[in-house]
Symmetry: C3
Subunit: 364 residues, 3 copies
C-alpha cells in the first residue's frame, strides 16, 4: 500500500528524547524512537516480538529498552538480550530496527530493506537550520489518506480559493498555467504570476510600492516531499530572469508521511531570509502558514467524507491536474516495481529449499 524503499520524515529532531522514548506510527507500523548515550537516534518496531505489547510504554535501561509487560529487554539493535526465567534467548527474538538519518532538524526513517537505505538519498532541507534562514517547526495531523494531501500540494491553483486571507493572492494567480516537468522520482512545478497582488501573509511582514511578480518553484518527490523556492519581488525588477531585488524569499519544506491508510503526518516549515532578526516576522509567517494548512485540512477532510460516500465516483480530469496526475503515476510505478521485486524474492526464496531438499534425480 505504501512505498517501502524510501526515506520518510518521522519526526522533528527535538521530538526524540535523550531520556525516555517517543512513539509514532509510520506507514502502518508502530515505531519507537529514542536517543542512545551518544545521542544517536534509535528506531525500533514498537511492538514486542513476544506478545506484541508496545515497547514505548516500557522503560529505558541505558541504551536498552525493557518491555513492561513480561520484562523482556532489547538492545538498540533490536535484539532481545534478557528474558525472565530463560537463560538462552533465541536469535529470532528481536524487533525490527529501522535505518534513521537525522539531518537539518528532520529525522528520516527507512521502512524498507535496510541494505538499500542510502543516506545520500535524503533530500536536502538545509534551510531548516541554515544561519541565514529562519522558521518555526510545524506539524499537523490529518484523518485522510496521504495522497489527497499530495494532490492538494501539486496544484496551487487552489490558493486563491482555499486561502484568500493568507497564502492566496488574487484570482489571476490561479489562472497562470504552471510549467510541469518530470524529474527523478517526481515532478518539478514552476508557477509565475507577473504583476500580481502579493498574498496577505507576505504583505503582513513586508511592504512593496506596488504589485509584485510572484513565483512558486518546487520539487515534489517520492514518498511525498515538497521543497520550494517561492517569493515575491516588485514587478518589473526581473525576478523571473533571475534578479531578486527587494524580494521576500521563502524555502518551504514539507513532508507528508502516511500514518495509516486513513491518516497522515504533515511536517512543515516556511523559512525566510529577510528580517531574520525579527522573531515576530518569523512568527507571523508561521501563523499564516498554519492557518492556511488548517484551511487545507478542512477542505480535504470534507473531500474525503464526500469521496467515502461514493466509492464509484469518477473524477473528471482538468488541465490543472497535470502535476498531480504525473505524481500519482510515479507513485504507482514505484509500488508496482516494489511488488515485482518482492514477488521475485519470494519465488527465489521458495525455489531454494526445494533445490536443497530434493536429491538430484538418478537417471541411470
Amino acid at each position: 500500500m505504501f512505498i517501502k524503499n524510501t526515506w520518510y520524515v518521522c519526526a522533528w529532531d527535538h521530538e526524540v528524547p535523550h531520556e525516555g522514548m517517543f512513539a509514532r506510527t509510520i506507514t502502518g507500523i508502530p515505531v519507537l524512537l529514542y536517543r542512545d548515550s551518544t545521542g544517536a537516534i534509535v528506531a525500533l518496531e514498537d511492538r514486542c516480538c513476544h506478545r506484541g505489547a508496545p515497547l514505548s510504554v516500557g522503560r529505558r535501561e541505558g541504551d536498552c529498552v525493557r518491555c513492561l509487560y513480561h520484562g523482556l529487554k532489547f538492545d538498540s539493535s533490536g535484539q532481545c538480550v534478557e528474558a525472565p526465567a530463560q537463560d538462552r534467548i533465541p536469535p529470532q527474538a528481536r524487533v525490527r530496527k529501522f535505518p534513521v538519518v537525522e539531518r537539518h532538524r528532520w529525522v528520516w526513517i527507512w521502512m524498507g530493506d535496510p541494505g538499500r537505505a542510502d543516506p545520500a538519498l535524503v533530500p536536502d532541507t538545509q534551510w531548516l537550520d541554515h544561519p541565514d534562514w529562519r522558521s518555526q517547526d510545524g506539524y499537523i495531523h490529518y484523518d485522510v489518506n496521504y495522497l489527497l494531501i499530495c494532490d492538494n500540494l501539486l496544484d496551487f491553483s487552489h490558493l486563491p480559493f482555499v486561502h484568500p486571507g493568507t497564502l492566496g493572492g488574487s484570482a489571476d494567480y490561479a489562472a497562470a498555467r504552471p510549467q510541469v516537468e518530470r524529474i527523478e522520482g517526481g515532478v518539478r512545478i514552476t508557477r509565475w504570476a507577473i504583476d500580481t497582488e502579493a498574498p496577505a501573509f507576505a504583505k503582513a511582514v513586508k511592504t512593496w510600492p506596488g504589485k509584485v511578480d510572484r513565483w512558486n518553484i518546487y520539487n515534489f518527490t517520492i514518498p511525498a516531499v515538497l521543497l520550494m523556492d517561492s517569493g515575491m519581488a516588485p514587478t518589473g525588477t526581473g525576478a523571473r530572469e533571475g534578479t531578486r531585488v527587494d524580494a521576500a524569499e521563502f524555502r518551504g519544506c514539507q513532508a507528508i508521511t502516511p500514518e495509516t491508510a486513513n491518516s497522515t503526518h504533515y511536517f512543515f516549515a516556511h523559512p525566510h531570509n529577510f528580517a531574520i532578526d525579527q522573531p515576530e516576522v518569523t512568527a507571523s509567517i508561521h501563523q499564516a502558514v498554519v492557518t492556511a494548512f488548517d484551511e487545507d485540512r478542512d477542505i480535504i477532510t470534507a473531500q474525503q467524507r464526500s469521496l467515502a460516500l461514493g466509492p464509484d465516483f469518477k473524477m473528471v480530469p482538468f488541465a490543472m491536474d497535470a502535476a498531480l496526475s504525473q505524481f500519482r503515476w510515479v507513485v504507482q510505478q514505484r509500488l508496482q516495481q516494489e511488488a515485482a521485486e518482492e514477488a521475485l524474492q519470494a519465488a527465489q526464496a521458495g525455489a531454494q529449499p526445494v533445490h536443497i531438499v530434493r536429491p538430484a534425480p538418478q537417471t541411470t
Copy 2:
C-alpha cells in the same frame, strides 16, 4: 439498495435558502440545495466533478456555485462553466442535477431517471399549508435503516406500549385489529377503536364528556410517505359511519427519507382543524408528537442495536405484521423491477457496440 424512481422529501421549504446553500445526503448521495434568482429550488450533486470536494462549502455566485477547492464554477444546470487556467470546459464536466418539486411546504426530489420525474406523482400534503389547518414543522434524525421506521409506522398496536403518556390511549386500542388494503404503491390501514379512552395528547387540548371513538386511517406508500386521517369523536355519535360531530381531527403528514443505509431523515407535521386560532393548541399537539417520536426513536434504536448483535436472528411473524409485511413486499418488488430495468438498459447499451463491431455472419 434504495428505490430510485420516486419522489423523496428532502427538506422543509424554509430550509432551502435564497442566499447561501443547504446540504443534505439523500439515499447515500450528497445533495446541494439552493434557490435561484427566481426563487426556484436547484438541487445538484454536492460533490464537485473534479476532485469530489463538496460544493456546499463553496460559494454562491448569482445562480451559479463556485467550488472553493480549485475554483470551478457550475451553473444551475450542473454544467461547469469556468475553470481556472482552462478555456475550453469539456461537456462531461458537470454534476448531476436532480428534479425537484416544491409543494405544500415540502421539497421533493427525484434521485432516479430525470425523464421519469412526473410532478403529478407527488403525494398531496395540502394540509401543511391549508388555511383551515394548523401545524408546526417537525424533523428528527435517526441512526437506523429507514425500513425499521416504516415497520413502526405500519403497526399502530405499539401506541399504548411505546407512547402511554402521549399518543397511546388504553390497551384496547392495540387489541383492535386494523383493516389492511393494498393500494397503488403501498397499503391503506384503517383502525377504529370504539368507546375507548382518548389519548393524552388530545385530552390536553380538547375535552369530551366521556369516552370516544378513535380512528387512524392512513395510506403508507413508496418510498415511505404516511398520510393520515385521524381523530376522536364522542362515542356513539357515528364517526365510523361518517358523521364527525365535536371531533378532533388531524391530517398527519410524515415522510421517511433514507440518508444512508444506516441513517434516516424523518419529516413530519400533525395538522389539526380545530382551535386553529390558538397557537398554544398547535404547540401542545406538536410537542406531544415530538415527545412520542423521540420515544419511537429510543425503542427503534435499541432494536437496531439488538439486531446488529445477531445478524442471523429470525423474526417470528405475528398477526399485527400484516401491513408491514405487505409494504416490505411492495418495496422489494419495486427494487427488483428497477434492477431488471437497469440490467436491460446495460444489456442494450452493451449490445449495440457488439452489433456495430462484428460483421454479419456470412451464410453462404
Copy 3:
C-alpha cells in the same frame, strides 16, 4: 467463536434485581436477567422474537416480561403468552431461556445446549461467601478479546513489571520458573518464590520480620476461570512443605467472560482469611487488586491496539508461555469438538428429510 457448552459467570448475585431487570451481553448474545417471585434467577434472550426489540427496556409483570414495543408478553420459560389482537400464540413465539446457577455469590449461565447444563460442573468458589474469608466484589470491563486477558493471567512473570507497586514484588519472582500441569479442561500452575520480598499489597496489611516464601497456585479452566491459592509466609517456616505459619493466605476467584469478540467482562474477588474483622484490611487488599487490574487493562489494551495494526504479526514464543500455550490449545480443541458435534447434528437433521422425501430407487 466462543465455547458454548460451559458455565460462564454472567453477574454478581446482587446485580440481578427482584424488581426490575438487568441486561448483559454474554458471548455476543444479549441476555435479560431477573428474579421471579421465588427469588430464582431467570435468564432469557434479551431480544423479542417478534421484531428484535430488547425486552430489558420493557416491563416486568409478575414473573413475566412485557416487551414495550408491541406489547408481547413472555413468561419466565421464554414462551410468548400474550399478543395484542391475536388469540392464538404460535408455540415457536418464544425467546431462548438459558440455564442459570446461582452459587457462592456468582451467577453462572450456560449458553449452549440446555440438556447438557449440569450444575455439578460449576466451579467451586466457596471463598466468596465463606464465614472464614472476606473480600469485596470486583468487576471491570475490557475492550479486548477475552483470550488476551487469559494470556495475561496464565503468566505471572508479568507481576514485577506491570504491578511493581501492588502485586509485584521483586524481579526474582519473575525469574522463578512455575510448574505447569495439564488438568481437566485447563492447566494448573504452581509458582514458588523462596526468600523473596513480599509484594506491596501484602505488606500494607501484614508485617513480617524479614523475607517471605511466596506462592501462587491456581487452576485456570474453561471457559476462563481462575481459582487460586496464594500467599506469603516467613521464609524458612516450611510453607512449600505444607506448614502455613504466620501466613497471609488468599483465595483469588476470577472469571473472564466474553461480551463480544472485542470486549470482555471480568469478575473478581480476592478473599483473605486473616484480619477478617478489620474491614479496612479487606478494603486495602481489594483496592490494590483493582489498581493492579487497571494496570493490566492498560497494557493489554495497548497490546490490542498494537496487534490490530499488524494482523500478520507473528509472536515469538518464550519459555514463560508454557501455560498460556497449553490453555489456548485446550480452548482450540474444545471449539473444534463443538464444531464437529454441530456438523454431525446438522448432517443428521439434513439426512432425515432426504430419506423421507425420496422414494427408494426401483431397480426392476
